[in-house]
Amino acid sequence: MRDSNSRPPDRGNRRQLTVLFCDVAGSSQLLESLNDENWSYALREYHASCQAIIANHDGHIAQYLGDGLLAYFGYPVAHEDNPHRAIRAALQILSQLDAMNARIQAAIAPCEASLRLRIAIHTGVVVVDEIGKHASADHIALGIVPTVAARLQQEARENTLVISEATHRLVSGAFECHSLGTFALKGLSSPQPAYEVIGESGLASRFDIGVAKGLTPYVGRERELDLLQSVWREAVTASGRVLLLDGDPGIGKSRLVHEFSRSLDASEHRMLVCRCSAYNRNSAYFPIIQLLHSLLGLQQNDPPLLKLDRIEQALLRAGRELTEAVPLIARLLSISCQGRYPEPHATPLQDKQHLHDLLVEWLRHDSTFKPIVMFVEDLHWVDPSSRELLERLSGAIADRRILLLLAFRSEFQLEWQHLAHVRRLSLGPLTRRAAESMVRNLRGERVLPADVVSRLISSTDGVPLFLEESTLMALAHGDNTAIPATLHDLLTARLDQLGPAKELAQTAATIGAEFSYEMLRAVSRLDATTLQSQVEQLVAAGLVRHDENASPPAYSFKHALIRDTAYQSLLSRARRASHQRIADVFSDQFPDIARNQPELIAHHCTEAGLTQRAVDLWQKAGLRSAERYELPEATRHLRKGLEVLASLPASAARQRQELELQSVLAGRLIATEGYGAADVERVYTRALELATELGDAPRRLQMMLGMESFHFMRSNFQTAHRLADACLVLARQLGDPARELVIHWVLGEIFFHQGDHALCETHLGECMNHYRRNFHRPRTLQDPAVMSWSYCSWTHWKTGYPDRALKTIGQATALAEELAHPFSMSVAYSFAAGLHLFRGELERAGRYADRAIELCTEHGFPVWLAFCTVVRGSVLSRQGVTAGLEQMEHGIKLWQSSGAVVTTPYYLVLLAEGLSTAGRPQDALDRLEEAQSLVDRTGERYYEAEISRVRGEILLEARGLRAALNDAEACFSRAIDISQRQGVRSLELRAVMSLTRLQMRSDPGVDVRSRLGAIYHWFTEGMDTADLVDARQLLAELVW
C-alpha cells in the first residue's frame, strides 16, 4: 500500500479550495536599495520561512510568482478546516516577519531594509483533474479563485491579512475580523465584501478547534440533558444513581455526556471515564486498567518501583490497608511488587473477590470528598470481568454520591436493571425540527438548497453523527455533490482526502480502536517527522481523538465507524500483512502487551493468517485468564483458539493441542455456563474422544471424571455410573491410587442418591480407609475424604445410627479444618447443618449453616451456597421465622440456575414442609408432586420415603382427618414400605410414628403399639434426638 494503490480516485472531482496569496509590499523600492545578490538572499529567506509555515499547516505552495507566492489549502491534502489553516499560516507568517527581517538584516548588514507583506485568502470551488499519479497543482483548473485572492491582496494594508466573504463565512467565530467594506474586483460583477483578520478569537476554546473539531452547537437534546442533570442532582443530594444510557451508534451518547459534563461546575465533581473497546473486549479489566493508569498517572516506561510508589500513595490516600491492597492493584496492572509485598496467596477466585471489594470501597471512599461521575463508554464492549465489577459497583453506590453512567448500544442486554436506584435513558433519533436546526448551524451563512437539506435529513435517519458528516460533506463538495447513500461512503471519501496519511489511518485502524504513538511509530515505518505530521493530520481531520491525560494508548478513533471504514478499505492481502507486522512488532517491542494481553497479539495473528502462532497465543491467553479466574475471558480465548485451530491441517500435533484447549475449556465451562449447557457435554465428549485417540490416559481419566460430574449434577445417574466404573478401571490401569479414591467417593455419591446405602457405604468406606493426607490436592475443589465422611454421616443417620453420624461428621469437619481448605469446610459444615436438622437440633443446624454460608459467599462456591441456604431456610422456617421460606426458595433457585438437578427432591420436601407451616398446603402439595416426578424420572431415591410421609401429613392438616384418612394412610404405608426396602430406619421411624398417630385418632381400638415399639427398640443410640424422644412419648401415651 505504498504506491499508486493508495491514491484517491479523484479524477475530475470538484472540490473546495482555499488559496493564500502573499506578496511583498513595495518590492521595487526594496530592490533598488539592495543589490541583486542581497535581494536574492532576502527573497530566499522569505520563501523558505513561508514554505515552512505553510507546510506546517498542511498547505501546499503552488507557485512562486516573483516576490509573490500562491499556496493551496485543501489540495492535494484535504482537511475539514482548510480555511482555518490558511488563516493560521498567514497569521504566523506575519507574526514571524520581524524575526525574519532581523535574520536578513544580520546576514546582509549593514542594511536597514525590511520586507513588508500583504496577504489575502479566498475560498472557492475548483475542478481537480488529476491524471498523473503524483499530486501536483498543475492539474487544477483554477478558474477565478486565485485571481480573487490576488486582487484582494492588493487591498490589504501592509503586514495585514485580508480574507474574502466566502472564507470569512467558513471560519466565523474562530477569528476576530473587521469588515473592510466591499471592493469591486476585476472579473466579478458585484462588489465583494472583505475582512481584515486581527487574530484568533478569544471565544474559540481549545475544545472547539482542537480535540473535537467540528462540534456543532448542541441541539435537540434539551430534555435528555435535563434528565441527566436531574439524575445527577438526585445522586448528589439523595442517593447514588446508576444511569443506563442507550442508543444506536452515532446517536449522540458521548456528546450528551460531554455536554452534561460541561454543564457541571468542575470544582464540584470528579469525572472518571472508562472506555471499553471492541478490540479489548476479551482483555479482562481493560477499561478499569486504563482508568487506573490515568488516575495514578502511570506512564508505560516508568520504572516499576515508581509505579508501585504511585499505587501506594493513592491507596494510602484512599485509606486502604497496603499489604492487602497493593499486591492486588499491582497484579491487576501487571506490575511486579518487587518483593516489597508478599504475593497474594489466596485462590484466584478469592483474589478476584478481594479486588472487587477494594475497587468498590476505593470509589465509595473517594466519593466522600467530592461527588463522582463515573462514565463508562461503549459498555457493549465491556470485558466480562469489568462487567462483573461494574455490576457489583452498581449495587454498592446507593448510599454514596456517585453517578454511574453507563452508555451502550441499544442492542446490548443488561440484566441488572431492577435495582431501585437505576434509571434509564434511551436516546432516539433527532426530531425533524432538531435535525433542521442542526443543518442550519452547520451551514452557517452558506447555502444549501432545500431539497438537499431534505434529502440530508431523511437519508441520515435523524442520527446526529450521520447528519453532521453528510452536511459537512455536502458543504465541502458544493451543492452539486450527491449526498452519499450511506455514511460509509462518506467516511471513505473523507479517508481519501487524507492523502498519504490515509495509509496511516488504515494502519491505526488495524491496530485497533485505540493506539499509542509508540505503536504507530513501531508499526508504520515512517520517519519521525512524517509520522508526527500525519498523526496530527488525523487528529486535525477529526478522525482520531487525542487524549493527553491518558497513559497509552493515547489515541482513539473518534467513532467506531471511522475505524471500521478505514480498516475495511484495506485489501485483504494488505490487511493480513498489516496484522502480521503488528503482531511481530507487539511481540518484539511491546513486552507488556506480549505478557499481559497475549489475546491482542493472538487476534492480530489470527487476522494475519498466522494460524499456528495464533492458536498458541489464544491458548496462552486462555490459560492466563483461567489462572486469574477470569473465566468468561478464558472460555472466549480458548474457543477462539479452537476455532482457529480447525483451519490447521489435521495432524497428531493439532489433536494434542486441541485436547489441551478442550480440556482447559471443559474445566471452565461448568463454572461459566452451568451444568445445563449442552456445550459442557459437547466439549467433554470431544476432549474425551481426543484423549482416547491420542492414548493420553491421564487426561482421559480427568475428562471422564469431569463428564461424570456433569451427568451426576444433571441426575443422569446411569451415565454417571457407567463413567465412574470406567474411570475406576482406568485409574487402576494407570496405577493412580489417589484418583481411585476419588472415584470411590464418586461412586458412593451416586449410590447415596439412588438410595442404595449398602453400596454407598462400601465405596465411601473404600475411600475413607485408604485416604492419605498426601492425596489432598488444595487446588482441586473436593477432598475425597471430607466428601466421603460427609455423605457417610447422613447415611449413618438414615440407616438408624444418629450418634455414629455425629461422630462421622465430626471427622469430616475436623479434617476440613485441619486442611484449612475452604471448599471442604463449606461442604462439611453444610452436611453438619443438615445432620443436625435431621436430629432436630435446630440451633446447631442454624449455626453450621451460617458458617457454611459465610464461607461459600466469601470464596464463591455457588452450588454449596445454594445447598446451605436451603438448609438454613428450613431451620428458620421450623423456628417460626417466615423469611425462612424465602431463603429456601432463593437457595433452590440458585441451585437450579447452575443447571444442577440432583438433590432437588430433598430441597422440595423441605420447602413443602415450610409452605405447609406457612398455611399454604396446596403449594406444598404441588412441590411434593414435583419432587415425586423428579424421583420417578431420575431415580434419586434417598429422600423418597419422606415425600410420601410429608404428603400424608399435609393432606391430614389441610383436609382434616375424615376426608384425608385413606389417602394419608396410604402415604404413610408407602413411606414405611420404601424406607424398609432401602433399610433407612430413621425415616421408617418417622413414617411409623405418622401412621401410629393417625391410627390413634382414627381407630383407637387397633394395636399400633407393637409396630412402633418394634422399630423404636431397634434403635440403640441417638435416644435423645428429636424423633426418638417423640417416639418414646408416643409409646408412653399408648401404654394403656
Partner: protein, 428 residues
C-alpha cells in the same frame, strides 16, 4: 502326587458340556454379606454337579474377587488368591490392555458396564432350552434375594442363545462350534474316541488343588489347609463378550474364510488342494481326531489359522504345548449386534486364558516373531493385516483382512466347588 478328586462337588459346567439353547448371566452385587452367603448356600443346592446327568436346566455360580471381599471372606483366603491368582484379583478390565491385547476400540474403559463394575460380585448363570425356561428358573431365586435384601442386580442380565440346533449349531461367522473340547485325565475315560492326546490333560489344568501338566499343584502345596480345602475342585473362568462383524467377514472368499479358521463351516478340516467344502459332514469325533504331522508346510491348514494356533495338536513343525481351555460359550444377539458370549474355564488364567489371548492370537506358531492376528477371535484396533496362506505352487499372495471382532467385555470369576459354596460360612 495325585489328589483325590470329588467330581460330585465340581460344578457341572466345568467338566461337562452344557448343550442348552439359552443362557443368561446375572451380575449380582452383595447387599448384606451374611444374607448373601445364605443366598449362595441356598443356590448351591440347585447347581448340578459334574457327576450328575444333564437335566432340563442348569445353574452355575461364580464369584469375583471383589465378591469374595464383599462376602467378607477371611484375609487368609483372600491373600491366597492375591498370591496365586493375580489376574483374578486385578480383574480383566484392569489387565485388558496389557494381558488381553484389548486396546483401541476394544479397550476396557469402553466395555459394557457389568464387565467394569467393581460391584459385580456374583455371576449367576442359568441355562435352559428356552428363554421362558431361564426366566422361570431365575424368578424364585430373584424373589428370595429381593425379599431378604441379600443380593441385587437382577435387572440387566446378558442373554445368550444358540441360533440353530443339532448339527446346525454354530457361531455367527457360520462355523460349527464347540467341536474341539479338551478331555481330563481320570474323568473322561472315553477320551480316545474324542480327542488326540494333545487335547487330553491333567485335572490340574482345569481344577484347583490338582496336579497340572507341569506337575505342580500350588493350590494344594502353597496355601494353608483350610484354604486349599476351600479352593479344591474349583476353577477359574473368563466370560468374554465379543461382537462379530459378520457382514465384513463374509466379504472374504469362502475358501479364504475356511483357511482362516482351519475348518470348513461344517467342521471338516481344510486339506491341501480343497477349493470347496467337502459334501460329507464329519462326525464330532472325526472332526477332532486329527493332527498336523502330515501338513508340515501348512498347505492344508495354514499355520496362522485359528485352530492350528488355538488348539495345537501333534505337529511336524510346532513344538508341543498345552494351554487348554474348556469352551462353554454361546452366541448372542442384541438388536443388530451379534457375537459370542464366550465362557472359558481353566485353572490358571495367566498361563492359559491370558497367554492365549495376548500371545497366541498375535503370533503365528512356529514362525518366530511373525505377527498376524487370529482373524476369528483376535480383537484388534482397526489396522488391516495380511493372512499368509502357504501353497505348494509358491505362496499365495497374502490375503489382506480387516478386524472382525470387537471386545465388549471380559470378566474373571471363580467357580467354587459345591462343597465350598455350601460351607462358605467357614471361610468368614
Amino acid at each position: 502326587m495325585e489328589t483325590a478328586m470329588d467330581v460330585s462337588s465340581v460344578q457341572r459346567i466345568v467338566l461337562r458340556g452344557l448343550g442348552f439353547q439359552c443362557g443368561r448371566h446375572y451380575f449380582l452385587s452383595v447387599r448384606q454379606p451374611a444374607r448373601a452367603r445364605a443366598f449362595l448356600r441356598s443356590v448351591a443346592g440347585r447347581v448340578p454337579s459334574a457327576s450328575q446327568p444333564r437335566g432340563d436346566t442348569s445353574v452355575t455360580v461364580a464369584l469375583t474377587y471383589s465378591g469374595l471381599q464383599a462376602l467378607q471372606l477371611r484375609d487368609e483366603y483372600l491373600s491366597a488368591f492375591r498370591q496365586l491368582a493375580p489376574a483374578f484379583v486385578e480383574g480383566a478390565a484392569t489387565r485388558a490392555a496389557t494381558h488381553l491385547g484389548d486396546t483401541g476400540r476394544n479397550e476396557s474403559p469402553s466395555w459394557q458396564q457389568p464387565f467394569l463394575s467393581s460391584r459385580t460380585h456374583i455371576i449367576l448363570s442359568v441355562y435352559a432350552e428356552t428363554e421362558a425356561g431361564c426366566e422361570q428358573l431365575v424368578a424364585s431365586l430373584r424373589k428370595d434375594s429381593e425379599e431378604s435384601n441379600s443380593v441385587s442386580g437382577w435387572e440387566a442380565p446378558l442373554a445368550a442363545k444358540q441360533s440353530g440346533s443339532g448339527a446346525d449349531r454354530g457361531e455367527p461367522f457360520g462355523f460349527r462350534d464347540g467341536i474341539s473340547q479338551p478331555t481330563v485325565k481320570r474323568v473322561h475315560l472315553d477320551w480316545a474316541q474324542r480327542n488326540p492326546p494333545s487335547l487330553h490333560a491333567e485335572a490340574g489344568e482345569f481344577l484347583l488343588g490338582h496336579v497340572n501338566e507341569e506337575g505342580s499343584n500350588r493350590w494344594s502345596d502353597d496355601v494353608p489347609p483350610p484354604v486349599s480345602e476351600f479352593v479344591r475342585d474349583g476353577s477359574f473362568m473368563a466370560l468374554r463378550k465379543m461382537r462379530q462383524d459378520v457382514a465384513a467377514f463374509n466379504e472374504l472368499p469362502a475358501e479364504v474364510r475356511a483357511k482362516m479358521c482351519g475348518r470348513w463351516p461344517n467342521g471338516a478340516l481344510v486339506r491341501e488342494g480343497e477349493r470347496v467344502q467337502p459334501a460329507q459332514e464329519p462326525t464330532d469325533g472325526d472332526a477332532n481326531r486329527f493332527d498336523f504331522k502330515h501338513d508340515p508346510q501348512g498347505y492344508g491348514c495354514p499355520f496362522a489359522s485359528h485352530i492350528r494356533r488355538m488348539s495345537p495338536r501333534s505337529d511336524a513343525v510346532i513344538p508341543p504345548r498345552k494351554r487348554l481351555l474348556m469352551r462353554r460359550g454361546l452366541p448372542y444377539a442384541e438388536g443388530n449386534e451379534v457375537g459370542l458370549l464366550g465362557l472359558f474355564v481353566c485353572a490358571d488364567l495367566e498361563r492359559q486364558f491370558e497367554f492365549l489371548l495376548s500371545s497366541w492370537t498375535r503370533e503365528v506358531p512356529g514362525q518366530q516373531g511373525k505377527l498376524v492376528p487370529d482373524p476369528l477371535i483376535g480383537a484388534r484396533d482397526g489396522e488391516r493385516a495380511v493372512f499368509p496362506i502357504p501353497q505348494r505352487t509358491g505362496d499365495r499372495p497374502d490375503e489382506p483382512f480387516g478386524s472382525y471382532v470387537t471386545t465388549r467385555g471380559t470378566l474373571y470369576g471363580f467357580f467354587p466347588s459345591l462343597r465350598a459354596l455350601a460351607a462358605i460360612e467357614t471361610a468368614t
